[in-house]
């Protein structure tokens, strides 16, 4: 599987493509790799399975926290295996070494008691709402991020997006062209077979477009000069994915927007506290964020990374040392472009009467207010388009102000 890649300049495939000999090249949307040097970079990390916000961003100063979250609770900063200090009320889970370092450098906004408009407790519907930008799980086949990209003017400054994986998640599906690339290396396929396939697909737009994109993406990854992205060990999958995103984004003519997915957050049993199953996952996430920052180093001042999940988990530990599906949770905005070093949380408290349905952290901030702010202040997408096309029915969720550095 791990065949050595041919040096960039000598690939026969590239030669064929460069010479325009491949019928498929006609089907490649021209705008896909339009170079958008100097403009903003955005990475969205989707944590599938519902991350426990009360473990990731422990509200250690809340008097009911330890009693409800029991052995899953993270102690106050200073205690053994305590939280990393943020603002006197909230901390970060001790696994978040890198995130904390960036917070202290003023590059992280931590959100708590935040949620999408979805109020039931199905992962799959919750993820749909997180990604489709509506208030209900069905109603559109495209994602809010794609609608935002489609609104950008074409030409210089036009962002293009990549999904890191073999396929494209809902958030990025839609009319704006999107490519997909998994960190798993695809050793060179026989070029002649590709030429003939392109010919066979010439009457089938659907296949022709995908083949054209795949060949182009491959070229982009090779031009990024990267081998580190390939062959990520299973234990380190998210880091490999993050590195791949960074590699593609910093390559010549690479995409400005990337979406990364990580699963395994559905901690119904044996969740653990400062150590244990969730702690290990969070460590993996922290490492992935570090990898992304390293890979994007020269572009970091223009970068914002949004980390989101479909909903939070129950305030109380369940009967199997885990947590069940909840509502309010946490989110992070990280990057050199972020005006950070702040926690944004209108904290409703964890008293019984404050909890939603007697069980969940009550959300006090709509995630769309964060998304809108990022699209407005970071991606400079017209506010009216954002309000109407990207997030219809979102008049109640006004964009936050001043999230990004001017």
């Amino acid at each position: 599987m791990n065949m050595p890649r041919r040096p960039a300049g000598t690939s026969r495939r590239r030669f064929l493509l460069g010479a325009g000999a491949l019928a498929a090249s006609a089907a490649i949307p021209h705008a896909v790799f339009a170079h958008a040097g100097g403009s903003a970079r955005l990475v969205v990390v989707i944590l599938r399975g519902a991350l426990d916000g009360l473990a990731a961003v422990p509200p250690y100063a809340d008097p009911h926290y330890a009693e409800l979250h029991r052995e899953l609770a993270i102690a106050a900063p200073g205690a053994a295996q305590g939280a990393l200090a943020l603002d006197g009320t909230f901390g970060l889970h001790p696994s978040f070494a890198f995130l904390h370092e960036r917070y202290l450098a003023g590059e992280v906004v931590v959100f708590n008691a935040v949620a999408s408009p979805y109020r039931d407790r199905s992962h799959f519907d919750g993820q749909n709402v997180l990604e489709n930008g509506l208030t209900k799980p069905i109603g559109t086949a495209d994602g809010w991020l794609n609608r935002a990209l489609a609104a950008l003017p074409r030409g210089s400054g036009s962002a293009q997006a990549v999904a890191i994986g073999q396929n494209v998640p809902l958030m990025l599906r839609g009319e704006a062209p999107v490519i997909s690339k998994s960190p798993q290396p695809t050793p060179d396929v026989d070029e002649e077979l590709l030429v003939r396939l392109a010919d066979l697909y010439s009457k089938d737009d659907w296949f022709a477009a995908r083949l054209g994109e795949a060949i182009q993406t491959d070229r982009l990854a090779a031009a990024g000069g990267d081998t580190a992205a390939g062959g990520a060990a299973a234990a380190d999958r998210v880091s490999g994915v993050a590195r791949m995103a960074g590699t593609l984004m910093r390559s010549e003519g690479g995409p400005n927007v990337a979406v990364i997915e990580a699963s395994g957050w559905d901690t119904h049993a044996n969740q653990g506290g400062a150590k244990g199953a969730l702690a290990d996952r969070l460590k993996g996430l922290d490492k992935a964020l570090r990898a992304l920052a390293e890979e994007l180093e020269p572009l970091w001042p223009q970068t914002a990374v949004l980390v989101v999940t479909e909903f939070g988990r129950t305030a109380a530990m369940n009967g199997t040392r885990g947590t069940d599906h909840g509502t309010g949770g946490c989110a992070f905005l990280v990057g050199g472009a972020v005006r950070g070093g702040r926690v944004i949380a209108d904290w409703p408290g964890l008293t019984r009467s404050a909890l939603l349905d007697n069980r969940d952290l009550r959300p006090t901030l709509d995630l769309r207010s964060v998304f809108k702010a990022v699209l407005d202040e970071h991606m400079h997408i017209d506010a009216k388009t954002v309000a109407k096309r990207v997030f219809p029915d979102s008049s109640g969720a006004r964009p936050l102000q001043g999230l990004m550095r001017a």
Binding site: G165, V189, D190, L200, G319, T320
Partner: protein, 481 residues
């Protein structure tokens, strides 16, 4: 003329040589004949049963703990003790004993599934087995079920695939792999005998941290297995149902899970939340394990279940966007017959929407691999080969990652990177299988009237037999069904 192609390609697993001819007489009758009785694996290799596998894993874990304990004791006990002994004992301990014990079983189940798909003469029944296995998904990427994910399909689904939905549902929800996947074995009623006894011991209220329910299985039964997410239940119903099935557990564990037949479904009365409970507006009296079974029986008969299952069947066999009339027809029969599955499948086959030619469904990697095996008449022999194929194509067998199963629409599979991986797999597979095959004949036997003239021309002009086969497998008409 394309009727037999539709029967074989859309409802089956792709044509083996001669299969299109077999179905051509009466394609509908050819399908109906397949949905009678159980659908065992089409091969004779005996697979270990789930209870045997669970016992093996428990034993491996215990032995490993003993070895580790002894090694630690030896180290601690004596600086004088021979260091060599310590090293040997430590080296014998396995880093992940559960995984080590599970892996050979996982591989054997994956191979058996692929062989069965390649060889079966009842491809429609086999497709239905795959359909239900995905509907009642357990994911082997959860360490605790790695080696038993396939046993749910073989032990709970195959026997009931052409039976009554209620029997299928009961077999699945009481299968130890499902219980373990959704964490129900430890779910304990706060007023259960166990909790009350503990309260007496501590002379007060029970220490709550030890005892409580876990909603996972109850929620997913409602959302994913029966009513569907819009089936009209509330959080209150989820909680009540979770209480009703407290005690649904697995035998032969340690501590509060001691007792019961090892590795088999076991109802633990002492963990069960006692008393009558109200679920979906109906009161269920205390009746031990039968309280939960009564709920399952009602769920199986519920109109929302009929509609939800019908929608998924039509989406799977007919189109990503399931035609409402077809869903309605199948749901009606489901409801009227109380979930008699052969009649439900017959209603599906009767849907005119299913016979309108064209190839609306993009094959999943699994459908693509299985239909390739059948087209080239290949039965895989090495498990690691099959495991790696699915890894490459992004659909590792039995690991949908979530209880919702793998997505069943094209947009989840149609990434450009995914297409490139298919090209890579097709070219490697063609290389191995090329000898003695005439690609044009293979095209005709596997696609019949669906083979486009330009594809046949491309096969004739290909520079090698291998290339021609790869082109055939990657042709738009082979990639869809």
């Amino acid at each position: 003329m394309v009727q037999s192609e539709i029967a074989v390609l859309r409802f089956g697993l792709g044509a083996r040589p001669g299969e299109l001819a077999d179905a051509s007489g009466d394609p509908r009758a050819w399908l109906l004949a397949q949905i009678k009785g159980a659908a065992p694996l089409a091969i004779n290799t005996p697979l270990a049963t789930s209870d045997r596998i669970f016992i093996e894993v428990m034993t491996a874990r215990q032995q490993n703990q003993t070895i580790k304990r002894e090694a630690a004791a030896a180290t601690a006990a004596a600086a004088a003790a021979a260091p060599a002994t310590t090293a040997t004992a430590a080296a014998t301990a396995v880093r992940n004993p559960v995984r080590e014990a599970y892996l050979p079983h996982y591989r054997a189940q994956v191979l058996a599934r692929a062989q069965s798909a390649a060889l079966t003469t009842r491809p429609f029944a086999e497709r239905l087995v795959h359909f239900w296995s995905n509907h009642f998904a357990v994911s082997a990427d959860k360490g605790a079920v790695l080696g038993v994910a396939g046993t749910l399909e073989n032990e709970a689904i195959r026997p009931h695939v052409a039976g009554r939905f209620i029997d299928l549902l009961m077999a699945v929800e009481q299968h130890p792999a499902m219980i373990a996947f959704l964490d129900n074995q430890y779910s304990v009623g706060t007023d259960s005998e166990l909790a009350r006894r503990a309260a007496r011991r501590t002379g007060g209220t029970p220490p709550q941290r030890e005892f409580g329910i876990n909603e996972n299985l109850a929620r997913e039964i409602l959302e994913l297995h029966t009513l569907g997410v819009n089936g009209g239940y509330t959080q209150r119903d989820v909680t009540a149902f979770a209480q009703i099935i407290t005690g649904w557990s697995i035998g032969g564990g340690k501590g509060r899970l001691a007792g019961g037949e090892p590795g088999r479904f076991c109802f633990r009365d002492n963990l069960h939340e006692p008393g009558a409970k109200t679920f979906l507006g109906k009161t269920y009296h205390e009746d031990g394990v039968r309280q939960g079974e009564a709920v399952l029986a009602d769920l199986a008969r519920h109109p929302a279940t009929a509609h939800f299952v019908a929608t998924k069947l039509v989406r799977h066999f007919v189109a990503d966007d399931p035609p409402a009339a077809a869903v309605e027809r199948v749901a009606r029969v489901f409801h009227r017959t109380g979930g008699d599955l052969p009649q439900v499948y017959a209603a599906l086959i009767e849907c005119p929407e299913a016979w309108t030619g064209g190839t609306p469904k993009y094959k999943t990697p699994q459908d693509f691999v299985f239909s390739s095996l059948r087209a080239l008449h290949v039965t895989p022999q090495r498990p690691e080969e099959v495991v790696r194929s699915f890894e490459l194509l992004g659909q590792r067998q039995y690991t949908p990652g979530s209880p919702a199963g793998w997505p069943d629409t094209a947009q989840a599979w149609d990434g450009s990177d995914a297409l490139m991986h298919r090209v890579l797999w097709a070219s490697r597979f063609a290389e191995r299988c090329e000898q003695g095959l005439d690609p044009v004949e293979v095209a005709s036997a596997s696609l019949g009237a669906y083979a486009r003239p330009e594809t046949v021309t491309a096969l004739r002009r290909a520079s090698s037999g291998t290339q021609a086969l790869a082109l055939l497998l990657m042709s738009p008409e082979f990639q869809r069904r």
